[in-house]
Each structure stands twice: as C-alpha cells, then as structure tokens.
Symmetry: C2
Subunit: 387 residues, 2 copies
Amino acid sequence: MSAKPLLPASGAWRPGEPAGGRQFLRLDRRFALDGGQVLDGIEIAYETWGTLAADGSNAILLCHAWTGDSHASGGAGNGHPTPGWWENAVGPGLAIDTDRWFVVCSNVLGGCQGTTGPASLHPDDGRPYGSRFPVITIRDMVRLQVRLADHLGVSVWHSVIGGSMGGMQVLEWATTYPERVRSIIPIATCAQASAQQIAWGSIGRRAIMTDPNWRGGDYYDAAPGHGPHAGLATARMIAQVTFRSDNVFTERFGRALVGGVDAQSGISVDQQFEVERYLEYHGDKLVQRFDANSYLLIGKAMDLHDISRGRGGLEAAMARIKAPTLSIGIRSDILYPAYQQIQIRDMLRANGTRAEYREIDSPHGHDSFLIDLDQVGPPITHFLGDV
Amino acid sequence: MSAKPLLPASGAWRPGEPAGGRQFLRLDRRFALDGGQVLDGIEIAYETWGTLAADGSNAILLCHAWTGDSHASGGAGNGHPTPGWWENAVGPGLAIDTDRWFVVCSNVLGGCQGTTGPASLHPDDGRPYGSRFPVITIRDMVRLQVRLADHLGVSVWHSVIGGSMGGMQVLEWATTYPERVRSIIPIATCAQASAQQIAWGSIGRRAIMTDPNWRGGDYYDAAPGHGPHAGLATARMIAQVTFRSDNVFTERFGRALVGGVDAQSGISVDQQFEVERYLEYHGDKLVQRFDANSYLLIGKAMDLHDISRGRGGLEAAMARIKAPTLSIGIRSDILYPAYQQIQIRDMLRANGTRAEYREIDSPHGHDSFLIDLDQVGPPITHFLGDV
C-alpha cells in the first residue's frame, strides 16, 4: 500500500488535464433547475463520432449511466483512463455504425468528466462548488442536452439510446420533447425508480456522507489520500453487487480464497475470498476516476427519476411518448428487473405507440448491456435501420 | 435528535443488567476453536421452555440467526428489549408446542446477549476482548451448544431447527453429530455461503471497520454516542434490503415521501423517501441492541460457513447427514434463494436420507421465516410429530 501514490481528494477530471476526445460547449445563459436553483456559466463536455448529414437526419444521442461519461468510444489514454463504455458497439461498421450515424455523447450535468458538476469551480469565487452544488434531476440533464443539440444543429435525433440512468434520460427525452426524437432505445431502465432502487442508492450515499473525509461535501482542498475514498468505495461495492448476479458470482468466484490457501488454513479474520478482492478492486478503481459528490448528486437524481412527476400520473406521462421504442431488458438483472422494461413496452402499446421488447439472456445482471454486445448490438442495428 | 439520550458505545447486554429469561452455563474447561485459538471461561446464555421428559426424548434446539439471541419467546421487557424472535411460534399450543416439547435456545458464541463474545471481559485482565476476540465458525457455535446439551442432559435432540444462520448451525449439527439429532429443520439457509452472500456480508463489515469510531475493535470505553454506530447502522441497512424483496418494498413504500409533501416540492437533497426512513429506523434499532464486533465476527462466521470444509467435498459432507430433514425455502428470498434449500433436499435424497421440501409463498423475502408463521408453523408441527 505504501508504495502506491496517494490519491487526490477527488477523481474528477480537471481543466488543464488532457481533454482527449472531449469538446466543450459553454452556455451563455443561466440554467434553471427543477429544484428551483439556477446555475451560471455551465460547460458541457461531449464527444462526437461520424458526420452529421446535411439534412441533419442521422444524429444519434447516447446517454451514459451513473459513473459513465462522454467517452462512449475511442480507446483509453489522453485524458480517458479507460476505453469507451460502448467501445465495441460504437464505431465504423459496428452495431452503431459511425460511417452511417453521427453519434453524440455528453457528460451529464453534475458529472465529473468535463461537464459542470460539484467539483467544478463556482463562477463567483473560483472555488469548487462542493456542498453548494444544487440538487439535480434527470430532466435537468436532458434539458442541458437540448442546449447541446441546438448547438450541434440537431433538431430531431434519429434515436436516443441509453442503459440504466442513460435509459432514464431516454424516457425523459421522449416524454418532454416528443417532437425531437424519431425513436428511442431505453435499456435496463425504468419509468420511475422503485423503492428497492432508492434503498440501494440511499445506502450508498450514506456510506459516503458518514465518511468523515467527506467533510459535508467540501473536501476538494484535502491533502492527497484524505478524500472520501473509503465511503465512495463502499458505495461502489454495494452497487457492484446489484450490477451483477448471484449466478455469475458463483460461477466466477465461488468460495475461492485469495492466495489460494487451502480452506482449513483460511479460517482467519484477515482471510479474504476472491469475491471480496474483486469488490475492493472495483471500489478502488472508481475512487481513482470519479468524484464522490458527483456520485451523490447523480444517485439522488436517479432516485428522484419519475417520468410522471407533474404530468398527472404515469399513464398520462407515458401517453406523451410517440416515438417508436425498442425496450431492452436483461433476464438476470436484479436491480432493474425485466418487468420494468416489459412495463414500458406494454404501456406504450396500450397507447398505440410502436414498441418492441428484447430480452438479453445473460448471467451478468444489470451490467449485461455493457458486456454482452453480441446480444445488445444486433437488435439495436436492426431497429435503427427500421425506424 | 438532541433530545435523544446518547447511546453507549455498544448495545451488548452486560452482566448486572436484568437477565430476563436467561440462564447461564459457565464452562470449566478451555474451549478450542476451529481457527486454532482457545477461549477460557466461556459463559453460555440460554433459555428453555417446557419440561424435559424423563427419557430426554422431547428436546428441541432452536438456533437463532445473525442478530438474534436466546430469546425465542417470552415477550419484551426485563432484559429483553423486544419480544422473542419466534414469539408466536414457540409456546403452549403453538406450532412448536411447549406443552409437548422441551425447547432450548442459546445465544451463539461471539454474540452479545449473554454468551461470551467480543464485548465480554477477558478473564486475564477484566477488560473487554474487543480486537482480541478470535475468529469463530458456525462449527464452533455448534460445538459450544453440545456442551449445553450435555449440561441439560439431552443426548439426542428430537429436532434442531433454525433459519438463515440458524439453519447453518442446523446443518452443522447433523453433519458433525449425526448421532445426536433425530431430525432437522433447516430454513432459508445453505450448505455453503455463496459468493453473493459473502459479498453482502463483506461490504457490511467494511462499513463498520471504516467507521473511525470502531477504533480497530477497541471502542468499549468510548464516551456515549461515540461507538461505531454509523457503520453498524449502514451494515444493517444493507442487510435489511437483502432480507426483504423488491415486491414488498414497492407495495409498502413505493415512492412515498416522508412528510407527505407532494412530489414536485420534494426535489431537494434533504428530501427523504419513506423507504429511506424505514432503513434508518432499522439501522438505529440494531445499534441500540447489538454490538458491532459481534456483528463482524458472526458475519465472518457465516461467510466461512461450508459444511464440506475438511470433509472431502460437499457430497461427502451431505452424506454424513442421516436425520430426516424438512428443508424450508422462501420463494421471494433474494439472499438465500430457494435453489439452495432445494439443493439440500436433493442431495439428501440422493443419499437415501428422508428429506422434504416446503416453500413459503410470501413477498417478504428472507425474513418470511420470522413473519409468515401461518405458513412456517404447520409444516414444522406436522414434521415434528411425524419423525
């Protein structure tokens, strides 16, 4: 441990670091939020692949999940610590073929990879927002993406696509701006966060907020190694279990012990199972690339996700969606169970909206939409060419 | 909050406090543990109901779960902060009829309700064990219960019954001491902890151990309010979600907000959903009655649970079980899925051992064995009269 360099207080990307594929749009107007607050001088980080057709008809928006960012594709390095989150789904000749489509992905509002978030500098005093950053909603994220679409000259997206929290944005796009989406592909997502989803999110936030190094959200000037790393890692570990499945954990780890010691000599408080090491790895990895306050605020936005809010109930909200829809579910998903994606299909069909449902048969649970591209890609390709 | 009295560093029961139904047995010999350590001067807290028959044939052992204790029945008060964990299943005329059966339940080794555990005083210096308490296993718990059986004059239990961690003890009884059990009823349990179960347990322990008030396990002399309460509550909240189900959370809480404010005005970081208040309630409640180190060590014992350890594999271990078995599973259990209890039935039958399986159809998840007594009780009553 002592040989490792100490981590900075936050894993947020900072201006001045290599930007990689990021481009930036700075809003010249104030931005009003669902919660009533207003943000000034917002910057949006985004990436694009392919070329926008002269008639603007070939644009696709990808919406990232909780700890994702604009880097959907393009390899690792140069400001991008990892390859794109859909590296093998987005590119020339791939499922979302950038020879045909102009693909856009932006870091969400409240994020930490270039778009304004709690680690960004407050325009009033040039110090990080920290605890001053306001509550945000999925609708706020989408409203900001509208500004980006306007800037890029995209009046109608051929499709808006995303999984998990990305799928929440997809549904808000189709509900709030039905005239600006030709089709949507919500994946492993829901129309409203369920009580169990809220429970998991809430416990993760608690783990961060009870870490004394969180300091009420104002930890950005802490010395290296003194950020809320322990709490953020615990939160990630909770999420990581819900992102996978019982089956895949049993198949991959079973009861194997770290170090391969035999089971008898493994009776010790310090003894560690391989599954524990795996969770620690994922906790540590997130700490290196993410910001605890972004994790908190984006998580809260997911709990607040409810496309029916202010719209007279869920049925009325779903009736606003007119775009042909491909709803994709995952059989082994314990966090966003398949019944939620089937509900999306059923409610749309009840309103006469074209809606299909495809189910990924994978043991990998919620994260299958990032893993099993052989199952996710073909129905997306087909649907994109058919709407 | 300020009106609440500050909690002591540990919620463990302490000698001198009202003992309630507890009786005590003090071992006069040293007790060797699976992990290689030895404990001196162990005390066992236990309770009994009914009368042991002259031929000793009517004795039933109840094994409690993670945060349970010897108080299976007998109401609240007088040293017992809550009614018994099977209050309405154990008593005269109830499913486990104490007019017929002599029922015994002891607090497990490492517990905090009278049996020696980390909050107990080390015989060498009269100070709490704290970090000095050794790792324990389910087998250690059972070996200690053997001493109690000897003391009570029970050579063969008519049945050993328990759910969750209690069921782990049940299986170890039947595997380690096949000659001392006439029948067993393992409920919502497993022959070996799965990787996912280990994952959840491990994250809960991490939440405690990263709480600075845990102090490496030596927190017993901390001032009131300065115990590892935050970490223990977080651990409990994680467990509480796994103890229930998606369905029951949706039915009970949905997206209801605390205070009943309307959804629009609820867009705030401080806004709280009812399910969050429920989890906090359960976290706080456990902190008041349990000891963080007991939670850690018993949780580790559950992760280490593997009836095959040192026995040449799972099939060989299961082949040692000769007692007729009623395996009970719960359809909605996400922590100990029903396939684990079906596996117990199937492996026993493959060896020619009489084994039945009953499944509880309840939305309440893992905790159904404590809740849905109308479904749990009748098959137990019938089985006890039939073996």
